[in-house]
Symmetry: C2
Subunit: 346 residues, 2 copies
Amino acid sequence: SSNIRLAVIPGDGIGTEVVAEGLKVLNAAGVKSETTEYDLGAKRYHATGQTLPDEVLDELRGYDAILLGAVGDPSVPPGVLERDLLLRLRFELDHYVNLRPVKLFPGVTTPLGEARPEDIDMIVVREGTEGPYAGAGGAMRRGTPHEIATQESLNTAYGVERVVRYAFEKALARPRRKLTLVHKTNVLTYAGDLWARTVDRLSMEFAEVETDYCHVDAASMFFITQPQRFDVIVTDNLFGDILTDIGAAVAGGIGLAASGNVNPARTAPSMFEPVHGSAPDIAGQGKADPTATILSVAMLLDHLGHAQASARVEQAVADDLIERQSAWTARSTREIGDDIAARVAG
Amino acid sequence: SSNIRLAVIPGDGIGTEVVAEGLKVLNAAGVKSETTEYDLGAKRYHATGQTLPDEVLDELRGYDAILLGAVGDPSVPPGVLERDLLLRLRFELDHYVNLRPVKLFPGVTTPLGEARPEDIDMIVVREGTEGPYAGAGGAMRRGTPHEIATQESLNTAYGVERVVRYAFEKALARPRRKLTLVHKTNVLTYAGDLWARTVDRLSMEFAEVETDYCHVDAASMFFITQPQRFDVIVTDNLFGDILTDIGAAVAGGIGLAASGNVNPARTAPSMFEPVHGSAPDIAGQGKADPTATILSVAMLLDHLGHAQASARVEQAVADDLIERQSAWTARSTREIGDDIAARVAG
Ligand SMILES: CC(C)[C@H](C(=O)O)[C@@H](O)C(=O)O
Ligand SMILES: CC(C)[C@H](C(=O)O)[C@@H](O)C(=O)O
């Protein structure tokens, strides 16, 4: 059958709440799917000490895609679930493209007083499998006045070329056809040089795409003062992490920011997740906005070839966001999911 | 005499224009100074191939302070002046504190529609001599499909402790007494661990200071959505570079952002400079805003013990900024300098 075989990792905190709404909208979109839920996250960690057992990882490889809510809980030592579960999934499943649209929908309030939707419409293509996230580094004489701690960014021609190529292709498919490399070439000279040379070289193959370069500090500023400068951005794992949170802030908040951890070579399933975390402070109260997860479902549908269903979900979200402007009362997580699902189905 | 012995490096582009106004205001403040100008920058590089000769560096060590405009010119290979001149000065003169206030003055337009001056009033204490700026790293098989490029962040207990201690002292001297460490401890585990442990340890000595931690991605967002969270921030060299550009954006633009490269141990002169660059596109046209340089002069005066004169300069800038709101025409670089100098003198 052409059923989508979907692994679902609701995770911790609001993760379970938003994922339920994402699945509701997926069903409403009329694309058949079979979902299997995985209890990875804080609960499993406490029950068994496991974060991501090898057998589970192997099983996950067999799905068409993964939908993830959020991981992280105050009861688990900081960083453990982030690294041993979330980042491990990204690395093991070779999610070398972390795709994060930054788009201001009409009707959405932005902290930028003067920004209009046409000013904020970009896609950040964040590298997902190397750079400062490689986990390389060490410490010597830890805890003494002579301690030294290092942290290494590892960048390969192989890893940089494939994500830059993907970004060029994305840019080529968009009306503006503009690609901006964001890095810090004047300080991080070795890594920056590899990134800059790679963009230069591929720009010959993609002559229709205009290329540009921006230091990460300036780019961070321009996200706020001149977001209309950007169309597609390609950048490393750490700069992409920072830029996409700035992007979420200017495009109406982390409740709307979707992402896809994509393996374009399709050697393993891609994983879609909201950019936000597990937000333990509001968990279980029905206060979380499921919109980021629903938009992540739209990305998932698009990735699996269901472009029409994807567009329908995105349009339903856009319509819902317009209506929110004039709403008198805040809706619960479930109510937002219901409303968007109804629009998709209707 | 108690004359300030000041080395002046106007540098490139708008650097020369803004420095002239900074010196004008310094004179108006009534603190006697003797200034010696150094022609470091693009011109010297083209004439002699030199960026920062050792003899000049040695001479610079003899001054009470350095005022720098901006370096960098399109005619010089990218990064050369930034690294071999600007960063070399910071490293050689052991400017381990890069002090960058982020403050919204009344009357100043911010891109954040709803922010008021009391919401944005913080100081970023950026480490200035190590971390990812150490220049460590390398490349192998450069230019081939098998290239690997590394970039290393070097962090020492010595280097981290001294800047964290400085930040605690700053926080203690401010009404809110709050210090936030910004890092990425969940990913950069070795470096993050050293930074977090150092803050924890020193927090015992500074029991009156409330401490907090924020990942760099979340902090970048909060600069936009909740800047009132922050009082004093301490962070590494690269995160500080990014955060202070976001700070400049939200606090009214790079034309107002001042900085001090401070050697608190006073083993070498500190260096004060606007955060902005040489802006070759508007150089020589009298369009640059000298306010960032003038505020840097206020920091210089404060550093050298002239607290009253420093406060007078800052007040003159504050008054000028209020008046700008209702101005009909844009003033030139020189006119702004004249107006602020007149307020300081009067
Ligand atoms: C939780 C954390 C490890 C993660 C990251 O840094 O990539 C998150 O911030 C994100 O952006 O998805
Ligand atoms: C010019 C560059 C090397 C410098 C830096 O990265 O520190 C600049 O961005 C700054 O913030 O002063």
